[in-house]
């Protein structure tokens, strides 16, 4: 039961941390709960489907179907988080200027909450399908242990959700002035970490060169098997022995989204200025 709880906890934790960042990043936006809940629900349904067809997926493309699926789902999340960041850069300024209820409601109405929902769904799908496969395997192997399985699963689920909630409320303690800069950075690092993980799956599938593996080894500093290591894996894609291409993708995503947000952020600002400045 303990082993079951631990494994379920680990998988739920990774998804719960992502959900908590998304929730904190969209604090005080109307309807965000519905969107995020929709993302979680879609992720759970997707996870069940992936688990049901796991045997088939494993056999696709000579045994690399799982990697292709994971890399695609991660890439989707990266694009969605990036798109949300860019949108925020172009609209964040006006939102800050119109902190009144009307301004916030109008801005939040256009905010691409579907992007956050899809990113959430992708995280739940990845971690959830592993959990379902794990639990399903135990259930098939030991029928008499159904009670222990259920109990372990529930404890793990509750623990993971509690950790996510803890992070969410921890983030909310940050003064509002700084909260969104913090969550912007966390979303950016999350996206970069996901891009790095996607690259890792493509290396594992033999589809892209690793550009040096491992490019360094920080296992002496932080083991990815430790709790903190797993938290860092979820938050920034930490692995102790990354392939060169993983580091490259991490940096490229970080720079790419930053440059795009600066570009769109300033161009929007400049455009606005030129409109309002009397000629």
């Amino acid at each position: 039961m303990f082993a079951t709880a631990l494994i379920v906890f680990r998988e739920v934790l990774e998804a719960a941390l992502i959900v908590s960042i998304v929730m904190a990043a969209s604090k005080s936006v109307a309807d965000r709960g519905v969107w995020v809940a929709g993302g979680i629900f879609g992720g759970v349904v997707g996870a069940a489907l992936v688990a049901i067809f796991a045997g088939y997926i494993a056999d696709v493309a000579t045994g690399i179907g799982q990697e292709l699926l994971n890399a695609s789902v991660l890439a989707l999340a990266v694009v969605m988080l990036g798109w949300h960041s860019i949108w925020m850069a172009t609209h964040g300024r006006e939102m800050a200027q119109n902190l009144g209820a009307i301004g916030a409601a109008v801005s939040s109405g256009h905010r691409p909450l579907y992007a956050l929902a899809l990113a959430t769904g992708s995280a739940v799908l990845r971690e959830g399908s592993e959990t379902v496969l794990f639990l399903n395997g135990i259930a098939a192997g030991e029928h008499d242990a159904a009670y222990a399985l259920l109990a372990g699963g529930m404890i793990g689920l509750a623990g993971g959700i509690a950790a996510g909630a803890g992070m969410y409320f921890g983030l909310l303690r940050i003064p509002v002035r700084y909260l969104f800069s913090v969550t912007n950075w966390m979303v950016l690092l999350l996206a970069a970490g996901m891009a790095s993980q996607a690259a890792g799956f493509l290396v594992q599938a033999g589809l892209v060169p690793d550009l040096g593996a491992p490019i360094w080894d920080t296992s002496w500093l932080l083991s990815e098997k430790s709790l903190f290591g797993r938290v860092m894996h979820a938050l920034v894609g930490y692995v102790s022995r990354p392939a060169g291409i993983q580091v490259l993708l991490f940096v490229a995503t970080l720079l790419g989204i930053t440059v795009l947000t600066r570009l769109f952020g300033t161009s929007q600002h400049a455009a606005r200025k030129s409109v309002t400045t009397p000629v």
Binding site: I7, T62, G63, F134, N136, G137, S223, E224, R241
Partner: protein, 119 residues
């Protein structure tokens, strides 16, 4: 335009693209066949538990799960992690490795362990 129409159309770049694709596909298959190893998970153990491979050569490792439980081949040392559903098999590409030993574990059943030894 149907596929055959594309093929028969007098556009040499299509032929070139297809030729390039075939070449690319055959080279990657060639690489895959160069070095490949297999592991089987049976009765809660990896068979073989020690797998010897050539150092400095990339290889394809096919893992077959012959048990009724899902397994997760995991190795922080190799930076690899892959779920193998019950009764299924899957492949991971590994290396080229420096000489040494690289432990791995079934993360869903920690008593199943093994190592890849690169020589």
């Amino acid at each position: 335009m149907t596929f055959s129409a594309i093929l028969t159309a007098n556009r040499p770049w299509h032929v070139l693209t297809i030729a390039a694709l075939i070449t690319f596909a055959s080279t990657s298959v060639g690489v895959a066949q160069e070095a490949s190893h297999t592991l089987t998970i049976r009765d809660g153990k990896f068979e073989p538990s020690t797998l010897e491979v050539k150092a400095g050569v990339k290889f394809k490792l096919t893992i077959t799960n012959a048990t009724k439980k899902s397994a997760e081949f995991e190795s922080a040392e190799l930076n690899r992690e892959k779920v193998i559903p019950a009764g299924a098999s899957g492949s991971v590409f590994i290396g080229p490795l420096q000489p040494g030993s690289y432990p791995f574990v079934d993360d869903f059943n920690k008593s199943a362990t093994g190592q890849i030894v690169a020589k």
